[in-house]
């Protein structure tokens, strides 16, 4: 079960004041095709840090979704992203954000467990759960669809998007094993332009 942020605040479960989520005033308006323009989505990562999705604007990033109890596609997704990082190792690492679409199960402990299993750390590799807002909007703009299965788990696809600093989707990959060379090249090209 999910609660609006103000309910969590009432219950004393959120320590940071809402003002902490406000993005610093941007010098330029967000481009219309920036996925940071989705309705406000507040996330909490494996280190218990709370932040707004839109606050990530400012540098290129890889963004996808997953769920913690996933046995096959999601572990493969994380390992593929590590291989992609390795493939661009001569450059600075590109930050990764994966948001769970199973927030009722994936609490911070679960996020930390998945992060530990894959040896990934913040701030470079963030696993996060939605705290407030509609993660379905994020899924929609990324081309990700998911549906709970009767037998447990989800039917879903995997899409990881390369975002430029403004949040425009530059390239996508299904992150299903060997790094897609075109996707790796898109990351390197984007870095080179900065």
């Amino acid at each position: 079960m999910r609660f609006p942020l103000h309910v969590l605040l009432l219950m004393g479960l959120v320590l940071a004041p809402p003002l902490a989520f406000a993005s610093p005033p941007a010098a330029t308006p967000l481009p219309k095709d920036s996925i940071y323009g989705i309705p406000t989505l507040i996330l909490r990562d494996q280190q218990n840090d709370v932040f707004s999705f839109a606050s990530l604007r400012g540098e290129p990033r890889l963004v996808g979704m997953f769920y913690g109890s996933c046995k096959m596609a999601c572990p493969l997704e994380i390992e593929t992203l590590k291989r992609i990082e390795h493939a661009i190792a001569q450059k600075r690492p590109i930050p990764v954000l994966l948001v769970t679409f199973d927030p009722t199960v994936d609490d911070v402990a679960m996020l930390r467990q998945v992060a530990d299993e894959h040896h990934v750390q913040t701030p470079q590799f963030r696993l996060a759960r939605p705290e407030e807002g509609d993660e379905g909007m994020l899924a929609g703009v990324l081309g990700i669809a998911y549906r709970p299965l009767l037998s447990g788990g989800f039917s879903h696809n995997v899409v990881v998007a390369l975002l430029d600093a403004e949040g425009r989707v530059i390239a996508t990959t299904d992150a299903s094993g060997a790094p897609d060379p075109a996707f790796v090249r898109a990351i390197v090209d984007l870095e080179a332009k900065r």
């Binding site: 309910v7 920036s34 669809a145």
Partner: protein
């Protein structure tokens, strides 16, 4: 935390304005979907929820976009809506020839989702929609009534893609819901995940690996042609797409259930 406490707090948190629309209670139940996407003859458990008695109208959607300019035609992000968004309206805030009591159509899945979120609601799941649409005026499940099935099919075949008429012209069904089966097609929250392997973005050798749970299109009940046409039409749309006969209605979870 206890669910009961959370439920009470949730009730307190909902503003009076959020209850303006007419939502009716849908009791819990089990049914066999006409689709075999979760295996043959799976009995689907539906939790109780409430659902808008009628589809969202042009008038209601106009109120929404008046309050939230980011969803107005001409201002909305191209990520969320295409060039035909609200095409029947004369202007971004003028209905013109579009009747107030017609269901709003040419709305994207994103827009429908945002409208429902604004009234502390969500889009129904496919199973929730199918569950309530199985009813006729007196039965919870009228899907074996061949005359009914023929009527629904004829209505779909006669519709020809023009915009639907005004809401509320047909009798309410068993639950008190109107216009589920004949007037228009409705977005569901999970429509894109019914056959996720059909997504071109996971095409090729990665398709199998890209799915934790694969599913294949199969209609269990071959009498449900009208339903089949709905599924085919919905799953052909991308979430930013819209169509002249596709609208929506919202549902709410019952606190603590």
């Amino acid at each position: 935390m206890s669910n009961r406490l959370a439920g009470c707090l949730l009730l307190l948190a909902i503003s009076p304005a959020a209850t303006a629309a007419d939502y009716v209670a849908i009791p819990a139940g089990r049914f066999v979907s006409a689709l075999a996407i979760d295996g043959s003859a799976s009995r689907i458990a539906i939790k109780p929820f409430t659902m808008r008695a009628e589809p969202v109208t042009n008038a209601e959607y106009l109120t929404f976009v008046s309050k939230y300019p980011q969803w107005q035609r001409g201002r909305v992000s191209p990520l969320f809506a295409g060039p035909q968004y609200l095409a029947a309206w004369q202007g971004p805030l003028i209905l013109g020839a579009a009747a107030q009591q017609q269901p709003v159509t040419n709305v994207s899945w994103f827009a429908a989702r945002a409208f429902c979120a604004n009234e502390h609601a969500r889009l129904p799941s496919w199973y929730e929609w199918e569950y309530v649409s199985a009813a006729d005026g007196t039965h919870r499940d009228a899907r074996q009534d061949q005359a009914r099935n023929q009527t629904l099919l004829s209505a779909i075949l006669a519709s020809n893609g023009e915009r639907p008429g005004v809401i509320g012209q047909h009798h309410a069904n068993f639950y008190g819901l109107r216009d589920l089966n004949q007037l228009l097609w409705e977005w569901t929250g999970d429509y894109a995940a019914m056959f996720p392997n059909a997504d071109s973005r996971v095409a090729g050798g990665g398709a199998l690996l890209a799915l934790c749970g694969g599913s294949a299109l199969a209609f269990e009940d071959k009498n449900q042609y009208a339903l089949m046409m709905r599924v085919a039409a919905l799953t052909a749309l991308k979430p930013a797409d819209d169509a002249p006969r596709v609208g929506f209605r919202c549902v709410r979870d019952l606190p603590g259930k």
